[in-house]
Symmetry: C2
Subunit: 313 residues, 2 copies
């Protein structure tokens, strides 16, 4: 029996800092309904989907605390969970997590069609800095607000209705790190899901990359890593002009041969849908990328024994 799963990328336009949570939730529910109406069984939302990308601001106190979720779900986000369960649709969503012990992470969960949390991930590759950059209009303070993810890259099984694919989650910057994908590949992953908030340009100047090049990088990294690990991938943006800072779009669904099968065209709320044949991963996993036949870990030791680059003399 073919293992077909209908996937949706639910790209979001910007969440402005001043926007009430209930407005954002309403937009997410509308995206969920639009995806379900097109037959989607699994809907992928962006990183930090419920809030603005607050690491661009130097914050403390009540405003900062307000961006974090002390439990998931909670009363504020429950309407999304309820609507998804009523529609029999699962989803991936990114959020700022405050754990019971007070530690804070940039996290994501995948929720099954019955509302069960199937997997949880905490972002490993935090970009940015701990200390604010002086004179900068916008910051990137993820290393200040979050601890490094402590769960590794834990693959898990998707829902029975989805044909129990091996799944893995990443968040934003993680998708540019082949180590992260490979650790999932070594768990035989068939479906990678990830959300992002990626700057369209450097709002503080001094960098020559434009939005086109940055969108190309986002798609390129997901395509090649999907191909090299023979997995489906759904990579989803929060896009557009948020708090005066530009975010790229380019949300996409990619097949295990690295080909983009659907991609968002706007910088706003937009759903794209594609049908994934999960068994299409087998060719890559059994031939070109049959790891047991071809990998030579004795020559990979620098990857785990060394952190930074060390040039030869």
């Amino acid at each position: 029996m073919p293992r077909i799963l209908r996937l949706a990328a639910a790209q979001m336009g910007p969440n402005q800092r001043a926007e009430p949570r209930v407005v954002t939730l309403g937009r997410m529910i509308a995206l969920l309904e639009a995806a379900a109406a097109r037959g989607a069984q699994l809907v992928v939302f962006p990183e930090l989907a419920f809030t603005t990308f607050f690491p661009r601001w130097l914050l403390s106190g009540a405003e900062l605390d307000g961006y974090f979720e002390a439990s998931m779900p909670n009363a504020e986000v429950q309407p999304l969970f309820d609507r998804a369960r009523a529609l029999g649709v699962g989803f991936y969503v990114g959020y700022a997590e405050r754990a019971e012990d007070g530690r804070r992470f940039n996290s994501a969960i995948t929720v099954g069609p019955d509302g069960t949390i199937l997997g949880k991930y905490r972002k490993v590759h935090l970009p940015g800095s701990v200390e604010p950059r002086e004179g900068a209009r916008f910051q990137q303070l993820e290393k200040r607000y979050f601890e490094y993810g402590d769960l590794g890259f834990p693959a898990f099984r998707g829902a029975t209705e989805w044909h129990r694919p091996v799944m893995g989650m990443l968040i934003c910057n993680d998708r540019r790190w082949p180590e992260a994908w490979r650790v999932y590949g070594l768990q035989d992953v068939e479906l990678m899901v990830m959300g992002y908030n990626s700057a369209a340009y450097d709002p503080n100047g001094g960098v020559t990359e434009d939005a086109g090049l940055r969108t190309f990088h986002s798609t390129l990294a997901a395509q090649a890593n999907a191909y090299m690990n023979a997995t489906w991938a759904v990579s989803v943006a929060k896009a557009g002009d948020e708090d005066g800072s530009g975010l790229i779009g380019g949300s996409c669904i990619i097949g295990p041969d690295g080909v983009v099968v659907a991609q968002a065209a706007s910088l706003d709320d937009e759903v794209v849908v594609a049908e994934a044949d999960l068994d299409a991963c087998r060719q890559g996993k059994e031939k070109m990328f049959h790891f047991a036949s071809h990998r030579r870990p004795e020559h990979y030791r620098r990857i785990t024994e060394q952190v930074g680059a060390q040039a030869p003399a």
Copy 2:
């Protein structure tokens, strides 16, 4: 002072099994001269450039032995070395190596403009099989004819005239393995050079990939790995109909932002040239891919501790 190096990809059309070595050498010297006439300082030739891709045949005895080089250079290939030195041009070339102790490798060297061998590499990721596939018109017997490379991924410094870039070599299938690129990335590589012979289709049938998709994969892997390691890359094919079996072309020069700056259009002998600003690697190495700031090797352990894929329960 800007560190500018003029690079050439010297794509080769097929080397037929019956073609005398001297004919192939003549074509390679013509490519070298064409590249030098366009100002190239470093010319990249394909994998197993002096011969047909003989692992497609089940061979033994004198014919098989005749494809291997017992020293490099040797009398047969010396004219290429002599011409390169006279032109003040360096080159990368792939060849079948028979070491003094009798071991055989799929190897490559990089030769400086003064004829010095600057680096040597033995292919780590051998595709194919030890035993021939019964009933197949063409074989892929690299695992039969070669031992796995035993030198790891050793970065080295290019020539003074080239501004001493940190360089790394790969061969064919290696370019699809992010581990190989990352080990060079961890040595601060600025220029990756590699040759390939990649089937344009499965001559034995049964696979749905066509030449277009396979060329896309070849370019995609090189682009993304160049980007994720912030390095220049030159990736060069032996192309066309060789011994009745099709090989893809698509030889290309790629910048450290993953953009293809020059690409061959034919399936024949063809030179493409591009100017590389080696310091263009710095932005990636110092920001997005500043490994010391962002890598988390404690979560990468499967990459070295595990060979094959292991799915969760």
